[in-house]
Each structure stands twice: as C-alpha cells, then as structure tokens.
C-alpha cells in the first residue's frame, strides 16, 4: 500500500470530429474509417489542458501544490505553459507550475512524477496531433486533454479520498529512432515499422516484469489493461506477447478519437476509470522511447467521485462534420484569403498581467449590494458605490443567451463570428463570442457554459480568454 494515487481525474475532447473518409475524398486517396477528434481553431494544447483540468477539479475541494503540464505541442517555447493553465484554474501563486514537453512520453512521465510525491499535484496532459496532408499521422492522430490530481490521501479527508491507489510501476528506456522530429519541423518522421516493433516489445516486457515484481502481482491479477504508445503495430502485438487476454484490453479509441499523443495514456486511463468497479487492478502500459507500466487499484470511493461528463459522453457529443478544408486551415496547412479587416492587435503584457485574474481565471467582481460585474469594476453599475467589490470567479457558472448576432465582417479563422450577450445564473452579464456553436440552432434562451480558448495569436502573443459554448440538454442535467 503506497497510500498514494489518483484523487481526481477528468478528460476533455474537443467538439469537432473529422471523418477520415473526408481526407480520401479531398485528396483522392488515403483516409480510412471512423473519425478523429479535432481541436477547434481557437484551441491549443494549453486550452485543451485547462478544459481537462476543469473537468477533474469541478466540484472538488482540491488545492494542488504543483501543476505539471505535458504535451508535444507547447503553445510557447522558452516560456512555461503550465503557468497559463494554473492561472486559468485560479490556483493562485503558491504553486509550482512546470512543463514537461516535447515527447509523447512526457505525458506518462508527468503522471509518474506526480505519483512519486505526496501532492496533491495536478498533472495535465494534452496534445494536438497531426501530420502533413494525407499522412498516417494526420489520419490516426487525435486531439484531447486529460488531467489527474495525484498524491496521498490525507487520513480522515472524506472530500478527497483515493479513487485509485497507485500500486507501483516499472520503466525501461532505450535509445533508438522510431519516431522523431527536428524542432523546426511541422511533422514527424518514422522509421520502418518492423524495426520499431522489434525494439519496443522487449522494452514493454521489461517494464511490465519490473512493475509486477515491484507490486507482487502477476498478469492474472490484472483486470483492465490499457496499452498505448507511439508505435501502433507494437501496441497491437504487445498483449499477445505479454500473455494478456483480449477480454482485459481497454478500447484504444482509435476509431473515434485517434491517438492523442502525450494525452492518450491519460485519456484511456480516464476512460477505464469511468466504468471500472471497485477493487479492480488497472495496468497502464505506454510504449514510447522505452516503456512505462503503471498499476492502479480502484477504490470504493471511485463511483461517487467520477467527473460529471465521462469520456464516452464526450465522444458521443462530438460534431462529426468539420470539413477537411477547415481542418487543414485550423492546423495551418492551408493559407486562406483573409477578410478585408485588420488582423486583431496583440494583447500586451502589462494589462494581461494586471488583469490576469479576469483574463485567465474569469474572475469578476461583486459589489456589497450584490451586483456582479464582468469584467471587474471599481464603481458599481447598480448602486454606484466605489470600491466595495470582492472577487468572484464565474468560470464555472452557467448562463443563458439574452440575445446574439452573427457577424460576417469580423476577422476569424472560422467565420462567421457569433456574438452573444450572456446573462449568468445568479446575476451578471457579459458579451462575448460563442464557440462550438451552430448559428442555425441558436436562439434566445440557449444555455451556455464558459470555455477557455485561444482567441487569436498576434504579434507572437497568444491571446487566451474565455468564450461561451452551448450546453447540450444532457450536459445541462449533469451536476458540474
């Protein structure tokens, strides 16, 4: 018994799906079956990570002391991206926010790093995976985020029990070229398939053996086995090599989501946790530049502390009709003519920092008279009192569309822009863009929730802020 493990988890899938057949239809060959998840034009790995972490933290009284963020596609280099995630979550300044970026394996490494301490640490893994048009990476990749709060359960803390205990694990590393990319390149290169399989399988066995030895378990003790990694063929052959029955194998979500890189181990683990019963042993096997095996045992607390929206529900609510041309445009592979409007000017550093609680955490102000203000004001719009405000974070408060309009003139990667006036439950109004919305189905009274997005990038600066998105009728029923 390590007494450590998963205290909370959540996953996020973007709204959009690309039918793989659309690739073949456009390019004349390639494509395939099923769909892949596609981050919208206003999402990046940071925003995907924020949404996943919000899903994990929603309604939970957890105060992480660290934020570890893993991705292969950091929005910024040289600068930490976990700080934006931490700020968007309103975690305050007393946290270590750090990135583990560059390789797919960083996702598992971040999770392991968290599990080795007492925490609570927030581990956020997200990725946007694509390749050149027509490539296997484009077809088989996916975009998603997953987040875990890991650490030791404090005795008597009924609000934050262990949902899955970390039993132990094993790792193996080797240096070989299977998948790689030079820093300036847009897509990865891969070596001949059979070489990679030959290199990966012994690493996987080595790590599994180490994990079983460390925990005193045998393969027969494993109830659910997740195998994923950077090499599809090795991932497929590993269970047979390791003598693990097919009935134990978790869905790898290839048909619906695609391989989401650094996020994928977390996404699949979240998916298994969504359905696993208590006292089940879960093995997470990740083949990436070696292999990592993590073993968990679910607890009786899991059932009562799952996130409101599970992976299956998120898969089901995806919108499958993103045109291939839009997908290429959003990923920067198709340079399209812009409207005759100026590109937005950059958000500058001092006001973005000064107003950071507003910009990143969506924190408004509420006057002593009870009137909410978005953005925060010093003088009340209602009673006109000066400086009687307290902060209030409204990121998790839902609202209703009071009125809206469709703007065909405004600059956007995905015109038209939909502007909505949102009245929040419990008071307060804000006027902002709607995203993940079909203008044809919008109406006054549409229910919305806030979502963290990258509005645009200008002058080398990503402009992060919040938009509203429609809440489906089923999601509206979920207790956030």
């Amino acid at each position: 018994m390590s007494g450590r493990g998963i205290l909370a988890y959540g996953a996020y899938l973007p709204h959009w799906r690309l039918r793989r057949s659309a690739i073949g239809a456009a390019l004349g060959n390639g494509g395939g079956k099923g769909t892949r998840a596609v981050a919208s034009y206003d999402e990046d790995t940071t925003s995907l990570g924020v949404e996943a972490a919000r899903a994990a933290l929603a309604g939970r009284a957890l105060a992480p002391r660290s934020v570890f963020f893993a991705t292969t596609e950091p929005a910024y280099r040289d600068k930490t991206n976990a700080t934006a995630i931490s700020a968007a979550l309103g975690l305050g300044h007393d946290v270590l926010a750090a990135d583990m970026t560059g390789a797919v394996r960083s996702g598992t490494a971040a999770l392991l790093a968290g599990l080795r301490g007492d925490g609570p640490d927030l581990v956020v893994c997200s990725d946007i995976r694509t390749g050149l048009p027509g490539s296997g990476d484009e077809r088989d990749g996916g975009d998603a985020g997953a987040a875990f709060v890991v650490g030791a359960a404090r005795p008597g803390d009924t609000a934050a029990p262990l949902l899955a205990e970390y039993l132990g694990g094993g790792s193996a590393s080797d240096e070989f070229l299977d998948r790689w990319r030079l820093p300036e390149e847009l897509s990865s290169r891969v070596w001949e398939e059979r070489f990679g399989e030959n290199a990966y399988l012994p690493m996987g066995e080595r790590a599994l053996t180490a994990a079983l030895k460390a925990t005193g378990l045998t393969t027969a003790d494993l109830d659910h086995v997740v195998v994923t990694g950077t090499h599809a063929r090795a991932v497929r052959s590993f269970p047979r090599t390791a003598g693990i029955g097919r009935e134990k194998m978790a869905d790898t979500l290839d048909a619906t989501v695609g391989n989401t890189g650094a996020a994928h181990p977390g996404l699949l683990l979240a998916s298994v946790l969504d359905d696993a019963e208590a006292d089940r042993v879960i093995a997470l096997v990740v083949l990436a530049d070696g292999a990592d095996v993590l073993l968990f045992r679910t607890t009786g607390a899991l059932a009562a502390h799952r996130p409101a929206r599970g992976v299956a529900a998120r898969i089901a609510s995806g919108h499958a009709d993103v045109p291939y041309a839009s997908f290429l445009t959003w990923r920067g592979h198709l340079d399209r003519e812009s409207p005759r409007r100026p590109e937005p000017d950059r958000a500058t550093a001092p006001p973005s920092h000064r107003l950071g609680d507003w910009k990143f955490a969506f924190t408004g102000s509420v006057c002593a008279c009870g009137t909410r203000h978005l953005p925060p004001q010093r003088v009340c719009v209602s009673c006109e009192a000066h400086d009687r405000m307290t902060d209030e974070r409204l990121a998790d408060v839902r609202g209703t569309v009071a009125t809206y309009t469709v703007d065909h003139l405004a600059f956007s990667m995905a015109p038209p822009v939909v502007l909505a006036v949102i009245d929040f439950d419990g008071g307060g109004r804000f006027t902002c863009e709607l995203t993940d919305a079909d203008p044809a189905t919008l109406e006054v009274g549409t229910r919305v929730e806030m979502t963290f997005r990258r509005l645009y990038t200008s002058g080398g600066i990503h402009n992060y802020f919040w938009k509203a998105r429609p809440v489906s009728a089923t999601a509206e029923g979920e207790q956030a």
């Binding site: 405004a410 502007l419 006027t431 863009e433 992060y464």
Partner: protein, 397 residues
C-alpha cells in the same frame, strides 16, 4: 444636475461641406482646406478673422497641428477633439462654448476623416494597449442586436421589421439622390436593399452606412454679431452631450431597444431650447442612421414616436421628405457614409441649407413656424455610447 445651455448666445454665420465619397486624390489636408475655404467664403471672412479652431477627427491625425499645418492658421489655438462617432459634433460644441464664454469673437469648428486609405471594409478602430479580452466585434454586429430585441419586446414580426429597415434605407437613399454632396446619389430599389448580402444579424450591406472621406466646417460668432456676417444666421438653441456608463454589455437590465444616452441628451437639449413637442415643433432632424434599426429606435428615443410605435411611423412615411417631420433630408449617413470627424458637422450643414431655404428645390423641406432643426450624433454601440443633440433655429427667441 444643472444644464443651462447657451440658447441664442451663439450663431453659425458660415458653413462648408465637401462632397463625401472615395477621395482617392484628396488628402486629409486637402479636405480640411476645402471645407474651411467654403466656410470662410460663406461667412465672407478672411482667415485672420478666425480667433480659434476646434478640429474633430477620430483617427485621421493627431493634435491641433493636423489643421494648423494644412491651413496655416497663423499661430492660432487649435484643439483637436475626439468623442467616438460624435467627434464632429464635439468640435462644434466646444467652439460654441468658447465664443459664448467671451474668450473669442470668431471660432471655427471643423471635422475631417479619411477612411478610404485604410484598405479595409468598415470602420477600423485603433485601440490602446489592452489585455485582449474585449473582443473584436464590428459595429454592424453590435447594432444588429437592436432588431431582434425590438421585435421581441413589441411583438413585431422580424419580417415586418425588416421591411421597415428597408424603408429607412430606401428613404435615405431617396433623399441622398437629391444631394450633390452625397457619396451615394442614387435611389436604390427596395428589393435590392432587402436582398443585400448579410453583414451581421439581420443587417444587409444596404442597412449599413457606407465608408467614405469628407470634411465639413462651421464658423460661429456671438449672436449679437451675427448679422455683420450674414442676413440668415442660424442660432444655437441647444447643445447636449451625454456619455453613458457603458452598462449595456454588462447589465442584465438593458434590453437593446433604446439608447438611454440619446434619450438623456434629447431631453436636455429640448429643455435648453424650450421644445416640448419635438415632432410638431421641429422642421427637420438629422439623426445618426449608422444602421437602419438605429434610426427606428432613435425616433422613439428622441420623442418623435411613442415607445413601440417608431417602426409604424417609419413605415407610414412620417419621416419622409414630405412627411410630418423629415428625418435625414440630406440622405443621412446612409447616403454620405460616415467620415467620423465630419459627420456631426455635415448634419448641421443640412440644417444650414434647409432652414435658410437654400437646399436644392427637389429636397427643400417645408419649414415650420419656429424654424428649428436638430442634429443627433451617436458614438459607440447600444448600451455603451455617447450621444450629442443640438437644436438650431433661424430666428432669435
């Protein structure tokens, strides 16, 4: 709050207005020289007689030197003012106050804007450094919120309201077709307006004012000196400028069917001028028809129509050239476009022509007893704007 006004203390004795349009061959300085020259000639004045200048421009130049270098104003004071789309009116208001205070005998208010040099569609705003949270919404999008809100509040079908919007555009183009200074001098069939490409919400291209360049100027003196310069001065009866708290976008009580700033500025101006029944007393009104629904809503905010009745009055021709109260007899922003710094003064220029009986015969309106005209100029968007109202008249008292 006190607002005493300066009724009958100041008079306009000369005005100038360039044609508005795509002036590819004219610079900001050229247009300033053109409108200033016209205004001086109109007043029979030489430039040295002007003691001080107020220049209105939103973004076509900075500082007083935009005018002083163009016009060589001989070391006179030039104040450049900006107040959103009411910039031209703000220049006029300040010049009037300067003369009323006794500080100067003769002042010129001049406005200019060069929009066509940007190469973009619609207005382009230059923002101070910001945190990126205020959005990039266009003016048509903000104003398009009026139509559905109005329909919902007053139980008007969107089709009926769209027909009224179309009629507003049709009426203003009809008037503009009779104005040699307008940027668009053609009547536009209603079907063309109704079917025009959507820009935002229910707004088609023809529901939006155009983009153009232009300049207009006015020379103001103390009322008692007016007849030294002209037999037909226009007396300033009222000036009101209101800046709202900007609560529309953040206050759930705002319903997008009114401009409170216009209501307040009209009320203040009518009190200054002694107007109690604007629809009956005013001979004409130039209002800020930036988008067609704006004009409909303004008819109510300015007291021309009852609440919920503006759309019917617009439909029934009350504000036509030959109607009970002609609105935008010069063609409005719809026919002139909206060179921001010039528009407020362009509205006054139409009062200057009409109230003095100098408009071309085909658009000369009938002048009521008082000889009053008004201008209303709006800057910003619904629930978040500044509004200016002036009343001018051809007689003292």
């Amino acid at each position: 709050m006190s607002s005493h006004g300066i009724k009958d203390k100041v008079a306009i004795v000369g005005m100038g207005c360039t044609p508005f349009g795509e002036h590819w061959d004219l610079s900001v300085a050229d247009m300033l020289v053109d409108s200033a020259t016209q205004a001086l000639e109109s007043a029979g004045l030489d430039k040295p007689a002007v003691d001080a200048y107020w220049l209105g421009t939103a973004a076509s130049g900075w500082g007083g030197m935009t005018l002083s270098t163009a016009l060589k104003t001989d070391y006179r004071p030039v104040s450049r003012v900006e107040n959103f789309c009411a910039t031209g009116s703000e220049a006029f208001r300040n010049a009037c106050y300067a003369v009323a205070s006794g500080a100067y005998d003769v002042a010129m208010a001049i406005g200019v804007e060069k929009l066509k040099d940007s190469g973009y569609s619609g207005l382009v705003k230059t923002m101070p450094a910001h945190d990126g949270t205020m959005g990039q919404l266009t003016a048509p999008a903000r104003f398009s919120l009026l139509a559905p809100a109005y329909c919902a509040k007053y139980g008007v079908s969107l089709d009926d309201f769209k027909e009224v919007m179309t009629r507003v555009a049709w009426k203003n183009h009809y008037n503009g077709a009779r104005n040699p200074r307008a940027a668009f001098q053609k009547e536009v069939p209603r079907e063309t307006i109704a079917r025009s490409l959507k820009v935002a919400g229910e707004l088609g291209v023809f529901d939006c004012s155009g983009v153009s360049d232009g300049s207009a100027a006015a020379i103001v003196v103390r009322a008692e000196d007016a007849h030294k310069y002209t037999d037909k001065p226009l007396y300033v009866k009222a000036l009101s400028m209101v800046a709202g708290p900007g609560n529309g976008p953040i206050d759930p009580d705002y319903d997008y069917t009114t401009f409170e700033e216009a209501v307040r500025s009209a009320k203040d101006a009518y009190a200054q001028a002694g107007v109690t029944d604007p629809r009956a007393e005013l001979s004409m009104a130039e209002v800020h028809d930036c988008f067609t629904p704006t004009e409909v809503v303004l008819m109510e905010d300015l007291g021309f129509s009852g609440r919920g009745k503006g759309w019917q009055d617009c439909r029934d021709g009350v504000f036509d050239l030959t109607g009970e109260l002609p609105v935008n007899p010069d063609g409005g922003l719809k026919s002139f476009g909206h060179p921001i710094g010039a528009s407020g003064l362009r509205m006054l220029f139409e009062c200057w022509l009409q109230l003095r009986g100098e408009a071309p015969a085909e658009r000369q309106i009938k002048i009521k007893d008082k000889g009053y005209g008004m201008t209303q100029n709006l800057g910003g968007g619904p629930g978040d704007c500044v509004s200016f109202v002036s009343v001018v008249g051809s007689e003292l008292g």
